[in-house]
């Protein structure tokens, strides 16, 4: 993609964001209800949070839990996917366990874990890993099913040693699905961290939202939500940037 094409793409995306905020502002002005404060008020609140430095503590707590939980879930999920695609029996043995994990509502898991392990950082990290791992695992497993066995035959015919097959063939094949699964998985991790905080943590973004909610401070609630979304957008962009760097073909 050329720079000018990318610029065009970005301007379109930026325009859509501006439109969303504009629509919000107009809706808030016409409806004039406490349930939807105007964008300007919310962003002013957010600005205040950032200026006072109050935004960073909760953001950092949530981010740390998310990153650690996601990293663990991603590693386990990728390992599971590779194993399940390689060993049929392992796949059959674990298939339903993984499906059950995917089907179980996240909230139930959160309750169960908070009750069983208690309110520790460790609980949230394990929880995130548990939610993310099956999703990444099945994604990688299914992506590997598309691997062309003819390529394997080619590598065997040319006597390519295992380590070069891994670095030159399997890994490059896996990188795009790993990045895609990673993006979805990271968003999922955020949401789990957020929910877990709402239900049982005295810190983090989720906790802040809960507090503002309890005193009916909708502008405050939306300000925290905006912080959450802005951070997600930034991380998503970062991931896409990395993807473009790594996947050059």
């Amino acid at each position: 993609m050329t720079a000018s094409m990318r610029l065009k793409e970005y301007s379109a995306q930026l325009a859509s964001l501006v439109l969303i905020i504009l629509g919000w502002e107009i809706a808030a002005q016409t409806m004039n209800t406490n349930a939807l404060p105007p964008a300007s008020t919310v962003f002013a609140t957010l600005g205040g949070l950032v200026a006072d430095g109050d935004a960073f503590g909760p953001l950092f707590s949530t981010l740390l839990r998310t990153v650690l939980g996601f990293a663990l879930g991603f590693l386990l999920g990728t390992a599971y996917g590779i194993f399940a695609a390689t060993f049929k029996t392992f796949d059959e043995l674990t298939k339903w366990l993984i499906q059950i994990a995917i089907f179980t509502p996240t909230l139930i898991l959160i309750f169960l874990f908070l009750v069983a392990i208690g309110r520790t950082n460790f609980t949230v990290i394990i929880l995130i890993a548990l939610v993310v791992m099956p999703m990444i695992g099945t994604y990688i497993r299914d992506a590997l099913k598309d691997f062309d066995p003819d390529l394997e035959g080619m590598a065997v015919s040319y006597k390519v040693p295992l380590h070069q097959r891994v670095t030159g063939m399997y890994l490059p094949f896996l990188i795009p699905p790993m990045l895609a699964a990673g993006r979805i998985g990271f968003t999922l991790s955020w949401k789990v961290a957020f929910l877990a905080e709402i239900f049982g943590f005295p810190n983090g973004l989720g906790w802040q939202v809960r507090q503002t909610y309890q005193i009916y401070n909708v502008a405050g609630l939306l300000a925290w939500l905006c912080l959450f979304i802005i951070t997600l957008i930034a991380i998503e962009q970062l991931m896409r940037f990395v993807e473009r760097r790594v996947v050059t073909w």
């Binding site: 390529l151 080619m154 590598a155 015919s157 390519v160 030159g168 490059p172 073909w249």
Partner: protein
């Protein structure tokens, strides 16, 4: 003449599907391929030509065989014998995340062609030969299907193997490019001081007549050799020359008489 590759008493059957009986591909097939020959395996679709190359390359184990001999050694006891070969597959089988040159290098590294310093020169020589010098650093999706096929030919040739296995390498090319590629292949093969053994699969009678020093004709499966002849005609052979056309006629006649295929 020395025999380079010899298949002895080859049997192969694939298990039948849904309770059908086994599908027999070869029953007691014997085939000797002379060193330095340009042997063309000619046969109808589905008769087991690709399968024969796979067995020769050690990629597929036959149901039984008393010998799969390369340079006097049985491939099953000495798998490293297959390092003498490079295989041009029926499809291009390129890695889409590697450039054409990197794809060729993947093969060079696998077959461990030494010294490594030679690689760049080898690649330039063969990519130039097939008219892809300017596309070496392109990814497969950036070039046409025919160019991908030619790149896969280079991946085999750069190894300068003693034995080249080529499975319908030109059948996906347009007739004009195919004609050029046939001429290039023959030239490269004849210029080499150590003449390589080429086992070339095709179902194209004209192509066989134009290129082969030795023609092996196969019947539909269960496949057997129904006709075989050496061709003592100098290259380059003009497609429209009387000798080539007579040979084509002879091959068609052999197909209808020996394999029951009518044209």
């Amino acid at each position: 003449m020395t025999v380079k590759v010899s298949l002895r008493d080859l049997h192969l059957a694939f298990p039948g599907r849904d309770g059908a009986g086994d599908k027999v591909i070869y029953e007691n097939l014997n085939l000797d391929i002379d060193e330095g020959s340009f042997t063309v395996l000619l046969g109808p679709s589905g008769c087991g030509k690709s399968t024969l190359l796979n067995i020769t390359n050690g990629l597929l184990k036959p149901t039984s065989a008393s010998g799969i001999i390369v340079d006097g050694n049985d491939l099953r006891d000495q798998p490293e014998m297959s390092r003498k070969m490079a295989y041009v597959f029926q499809g291009a089988r390129l890695l889409r995340w590697k450039t054409l040159a990197q794809n060729a290098e993947f093969g060079l590294a696998g077959l461990n062609v030494q010294p490594k310093e030679k690689w760049q020169g080898l690649m330039e020589k063969y990519f130039s030969a097939v008219g892809l010098k300017d596309y070496m650093n392109h990814y497969p999706h950036q070039v046409s299907g025919g160019m991908q096929q030619r790149a896969s030919i280079v991946r085999a040739w750069v190894n300068e193997p003693e034995i080249l296995l080529m499975d319908e390498p030109f059948s996906h090319l347009d007739e004009i490019t195919a004609a050029t590629m046939r001429r290039i292949l023959i030239d490269l093969w004849r210029q080499d001081e150590t003449r390589r053994t080429i086992i070339f699969v095709t179902h194209d009678i004209a192509e066989a007549a134009q290129m082969a020093s030795d023609i092996v004709m196969l019947t539909p499966a269960p496949s057997s050799i129904c006709y075989r002849r050496k061709v003592d005609m100098p290259w380059p052979r003009a497609m429209e020359s009387d000798e080539v056309i007579d040979l084509e006629k002879e091959l068609r006649r052999a197909f209808s008489e020996k394999a029951g295929i009518r044209f």
